[in-house]
């Protein structure tokens, strides 16, 4: 990504936020040899631990693994499955088209004619959005199992979930009309966002803008306090991850002074890899891929709402919730910030390593003086 010095600095200050110790997650053993006893030339020249770590990162690293998608396997290329599959695709496209027709023919009149009667309009728009989401899910032959009590509409509560693809939102929306915070996208998705999703109350953010964070935090707070607003759904990972790992949660959702209700989503990979690799595919291609695969099977767990414990920082709170969700959905936790997809890691990490090596060198020297 071409970013000017200024931009990189601002994003690294984002990442600079005090966060749980990365050393807790990474394999134990310091990366730089800590000399024991008197400092010898050998201790200074032996850079093998740092080299091993670098080579290890080149060969395999936990960050890239989070965004690895499985190559789609051709399962329908034979005489008996292929015609069935073709019929299936046609049928699904039909279902989706019917869904859109019904939706638009109800939504447009409701939106314009009921402009005066806000309450009723909102109720109807909510129901219609839930409807179109159900049609979407049907068009992918979606089999979604919901576990746990359905979320209730209460003020001062937010919902957080792990993020695999934009369809997470559709799958959750078909049950309950959430308001969501999303990155503004270009193209037809952006059009949908600005027209239909406005009606359920959505908040937009722009990843590449530094000042954006404060504005968004304020909007989040306002929304969560309002009793009338739809419950807010936030994906604290900030980016799509491949449903086998979970990256660090951003603390924004956890410092609003609200109850946090975790939702865990797990897709069954046998049927399709629902991970949206935004670097490889556009959303349109991703949807088409879903529509032409066997099925989208997933489990959604609504987990027990949590509150900030006394003496707990928002970051610890975020980690606790990430733990709850990761355990439920069988995800491995990694200590990386999802935004490292777009920017470099903060120099703090390197400095920490340098500091510990410098200290042990000085300690080795001290042992001689005394």
């Amino acid at each position: 990504m071409n970013s000017s010095e200024g931009k990189l600095k601002s994003s690294s200050s984002e990442l600079d936020l005090d966060r749980p110790n990365i050393e807790d997650y990474l394999p134990s053993g310091s990366s730089i040899q800590e000399p024991h006893g008197k400092l010898r030339l050998r201790d200074l020249l032996d850079i093998s631990p740092a080299l091993t770590e670098a080579a290890g990162a080149i060969v395999d690293d936990s960050f890239t693994r989070c965004f690895k998608s499985n190559p789609p396997e051709l399962w329908n290329w034979n005489v008996y499955l292929f015609p069935l599959w073709c019929c299936g695709v046609v049928f699904r496209a039909l279902v989706l088209t019917i869904g859109w027709i019904i939706f638009l023919s109800c939504f447009i009149p409701v939106h314009f004619l009921l402009k005066g009667n806000d309450n009723l309009r909102k109720k109807m728009e909510r129901a219609l959005v839930e409807l179109i989401c159900s049609f979407f899910v049907a068009s992918w032959t979606g089999v979604v199992k919901y576990h746990g009590p359905r979320p209730s509409m209460r003020p001062k509560q937010v919902f957080v979930a792990n993020h695999t693809s934009m369809i997470d939102f559709i799958i959750l929306e078909q049950m309950t009309a959430f308001a969501v915070i999303m990155q503004k996208h270009p193209g037809w998705v952006g059009l949908l966002q600005s027209t239909i999703l406005e009606s359920v109350g959505c908040i937009w953010f722009n990843r590449s803008e530094a000042k954006d964070r404060e504005i968004v935090t304020r909007k989040l707070r306002e929304h969560s306090q309002g009793a009338d607003n739809n419950p807010l759904l936030i994906f604290p990972e900030g980016t799509c991850v491949n449903n086998q790992y979970s990256v660090m949660f951003k603390k924004g959702a956890f410092e609003l002074g609200c109850t946090v209700c975790p939702i865990a989503i797990k897709y069954n990979k046998i049927f399709v890899d629902a991970f949206w690799n935004s670097r490889k595919q556009s959303f349109t291609m991703h949807l088409l891929q879903l529509m032409t695969s066997w099925a989208v099977v997933c489990d959604v767990w609504y987990l027990e709402p949590q509150n900030l414990r006394p003496g707990e920082t928002p970051i610890e709170f975020a980690e606790r919730i990430r733990d709850i969700i990761s355990v439920r959905a069988g995800l491995k936790k990694v200590p990386w910030d999802g935004y490292l997809k777009y920017s470099r890691p903060s120099p703090k990490h390197r400095e920490r390593k340098q500091q510990s090596f410098a200290e042990s060198v000085l300690r080795g020297l001290e042992l001689e003086e005394k």
Binding site: L41, R42, I47, S48, A54, V59, K353, A358, L365
Partner: protein, 189 residues
């Protein structure tokens, strides 16, 4: 990307294996090829510095810039040869040779005082600064907190001095006796 192993023929694998002196098994070479293609996002046939730095674990390593100079523009065969020092099948001699190459940035077979100083700076960053001396309050003796002084002192104790030019055999003498642990495991599906 699809199935990358289909782009690598048996002949290619054997050629790469020969080039790295059988440091890796054929399966490991296939895995390394998949990884190489994964890192080489623009498909240029080599992994650029930017693409390496997009791996956060690599970017935070204090020696990343030095290694990038050695990694820049390598094709797959050379990439595997580069990593061969980290194979469990590599000899201690090969590992020490690699470390020597990291120090010897101008590749003339001699490591100078400044080469060693540069690496020490990379490893300690700003935490051992130039020309800064503190006084130990208890012993009232000057504490050397300067990279140059640390390195000079340690060199002299080992029988060298600031002007010494270390060659490969010196490195073998210094590092050979210690149990050098420098191994990386290539994940094989």
């Amino acid at each position: 990307m699809g199935n990358t192993s289909s782009m690598l023929t048996q002949y290619d694998i054997e050629e790469v294996q020969q080039h790295c002196n059988n440091a890796f098994s054929q399966q490991e070479i296939v895995s390394l090829y998949e990884r190489f293609c994964q890192l080489d996002r623009n498909g240029g046939g080599f992994v650029s510095g930017e693409e390496f730095l997009s791996v956060p674990e690599f970017a935070v390593n204090p020696l990343s810039q030095r290694l990038l100079r050695m990694l820049d523009g390598l094709n797959f065969k050379e990439f595997v040869a580069f990593l061969s020092a980290f194979s469990p099948r590599a000899t201690v001699q090969q590992k020490i040779e690699f470390i020597f190459k990291v120090y010897d940035s101008d590749g003339n077979g001699k490591v100078t005082f400044n080469d060693m100083l540069d690496v020490l700076h990379d490893l300690t960053g700003q935490f051992i600064s130039e020309q800064q001396s503190e006084v130990d309050l208890i012993l009232e003796m000057p504490l050397f907190t300067d990279c140059k002084q640390v390195l000079t002192k340690v060199l002299e104790e080992a029988g060298y001095n600031k002007e010494s030019l270390l060659v490969m055999s010196d490195f073998v003498k210094i590092l050979g006796s210690s149990g050098l642990k420098m191994e990386v495991e290539v994940p094989v599906d």
